[in-house]
């Protein structure tokens, strides 16, 4: 295992110490339990947004705390959902009297821990709503399974809902908006290499020089299918076709196109992917209204990418464009 870390037990703690050393103008970090809050939390009268999940997806979520995005993020251990007390404390720390929205990615662990935390918060008279993001088309959805994972759309939901909350939308409205974003977002990912969970010390899976995994999530888990290594254009088609057909995205739709790096893939490749994506969408008559390109929801040092498309309406577009000032996303300020 080759990583720039000290002891594997300290990875999350030291990463958080790095974040606060770097961004004390934007965020504060609480340790034991660990959570990141915006520097001016709680913002009185504002619907507070709390998200969280396992670590290893940086900049998500800690890097998305700040003006116009999240009020708090709860980082668990690497790839491990945070605990209820952690989420509860963060929820209390940002509650400004207008309620708290939990943005939860659809993993059993995240769901269960956030549920417990919400129950505890409600017992403390904090109004909590939870919206579950489940946008990964690689997973067959069914009543009898855990359903689809929450992946790239999470980042977009946090930005868009963060802008609405910043403009003092009510908890109900922000939650509804969040559900709308989720309903209009679809993602799919792929890996060229595995990642190594620090505590595990070796790659989660082995992948041959001529192989890739299609339909991965963001936890270094193997994907739906192992296939022969293909060109960027072919990979983009493998990811984009199921996304487009699933919603379905239609001729004339305007989308936010998000090309995400999994952590080990450099920008030069992401631009080659974006090129292929823009050509593909052009071919099916879908217009790119906004875009995001870079490593925003990662799987440690995994090489690979994911594509997320979000069908935009005017309100979402306006909220996407609104100012944001976080360690990981910044514009308009």
């Amino acid at each position: 295992m080759k990583k720039l870390i000290n002891r594997v037990e300290d990875v999350v703690k030291e990463e958080l110490e790095g974040i606060v050393a770097a961004h004390s103008d934007l965020v504060r970090v609480h340790f034991a339990p660990n959570y990141v809050v915006r520097v001016d939390a709680p913002v009185s009268g504002k619907t507070a947004l709390v998200s969280g999940g396992g670590s290893g997806h940086e900049p998500m979520h800690g890097g998305f705390v700040g003006m116009g995005m999240l009020d708090a993020a709860c980082p668990g251990e690497v790839f491990t959902s945070p605990t209820p007390d952690q989420i509860l404390e963060a929820t209390k720390a940002v509650s400004g009297g207008a309620g708290v929205l939990h943005i939860v990615k659809n993993y059993t662990g995240d769901i269960l821990n956030f549920e417990m935390a919400a129950d505890l918060a409600k017992a403390d008279d904090i109004e909590v709503e939870a919206v579950v993001i489940n946008d990964d088309v690689a997973v067959q959805d069914s009543l009898y399974t855990a359903g689809r994972r929450g992946v790239g759309t999470t980042v977009l939901a946090e930005k868009i809902c963060g802008a609405a909350a910043e403009a003092h939308a009510s908890l109900k409205d922000v939650a509804e908006l969040c559900r709308r974003v989720n309903a209009n977002g679809r993602s799919m990912g792929m890996a060229l290499t595995s990642c190594t969970v620090p505590a595990a010390g070796k790659p989660t899976f082995d992948l041959g020089e001529q192989e890739m995994e299609i339909g991965i999530g963001i936890h270094g888990e193997p994907g739906r299918e192992r296939r022969a290594l293909a060109s960027a254009d072919e990979v983009v088609e493998m990811l984009t076709r199921p996304i487009v057909e699933d919603l379905p995205f239609k001729r004339g739709d305007s989308v936010l196109a998000f090309v995400n790096g999994m952590g080990g893939t450099p920008l030069i490749e992401l631009y080659i992917v974006y090129r292929a994506l823009s050509r593909y969408l052009d071919g099916v008559g879908v217009k790119i209204g906004r875009k995001l390109i870079g490593p925003y929801i990662t799987s440690l040092e995994m090489a690979g990418c994911s594509i997320t498309l979000l069908r935009l309406d005017d309100e979402m577009t306006r909220l996407w464009d609104a100012p944001v000032n976080t360690p990981g996303l910044r514009w308009g300020v």
Partner: protein, 212 residues
């Protein structure tokens, strides 16, 4: 013969030891169909439990299990934290007021606890989760108790049922938890949570049948 507080404590400590010993194995199983953290998660939690339960002054079995539950909930995270937390909370609730546990008591407690885990996680037997080890364990224990088996025999049957249930997860296609994302590819691998649950049931058998 009945289960004492000391045996209850030995069960929790024995489970912690078994997890520590099998940490890499559990994580390896979780690499195959999950995210390579089940051993690390459970070990982090059970080490925290160990640090707590050694010094519980004047606690009873219910408090012991509840402390274990709360510690797991606040240190494990992931799916297993709330689920094992719920399991121990279920045990703790079921044994409230008891200073010793008969075979029936333990059987009822385990059955109630497994029911609570199912309520929380919504998994059915056959979904390739810890339920596939826990449910047969609870069922066989209750049957053995009803049949008037000795504690020793009942616990042995229970452990066997858990082990078989764990092995039976191998061919299954997962419908719950992280392995479900793999679809058909989840078949052919043993479920990590069912494996840690077998360790739990085994730790109970070892602790409850040891000489005290």
């Amino acid at each position: 013969m009945a289960v004492t507080y000391e045996q209850g404590l030995a069960f929790v400590q024995g489970f912690a030891a078994a997890i520590a010993e099998n940490k890499a194995y559990l994580t390896q199983l979780d690499s195959e169909i999950g995210d390579a953290d089940h051993g690390t998660n459970m070990d982090r939690g059970m080490q925290a439990v160990l640090a707590k339960v050694g010094s519980l002054e004047g606690a009873d079995l219910s408090q012991l299990f509840k402390t274990t539950a709360m510690t797991l909930i606040s240190t494990v995270g992931g799916a297993s934290g709330p689920l094992y937390g719920t399991l121990f909370l279920g045990l703790g609730t079921a044994v409230t007021g008891k200073t010793e546990l008969s075979t029936e008591d333990w059987g009822q407690a385990l059955a109630a606890a497994v029911q609570a885990v199912r309520a929380r996680g919504k998994a059915q037997p056959g979904d390739k989760t810890m339920i596939d080890a826990l449910q047969p364990a609870a069922d066989s224990l209750r049957e053995a108790a009803q049949d008037g088996a000795t504690l020793e025999a009942a616990l042995a049957t229970c452990e066997q049922a858990a082990e078989q249930g764990m092995q039976a997860t191998i061919p299954l296609v997962a419908r719950k938890g992280r392995a479900s994302y793999l679809g058909e590819r989840s078949a052919g691998h043993q479920d990590p949570g069912a494996t840690s649950s077998w360790l739990l049931v085994r730790a109970a058998r070892q602790a409850f049948t040891a000489d005290t």
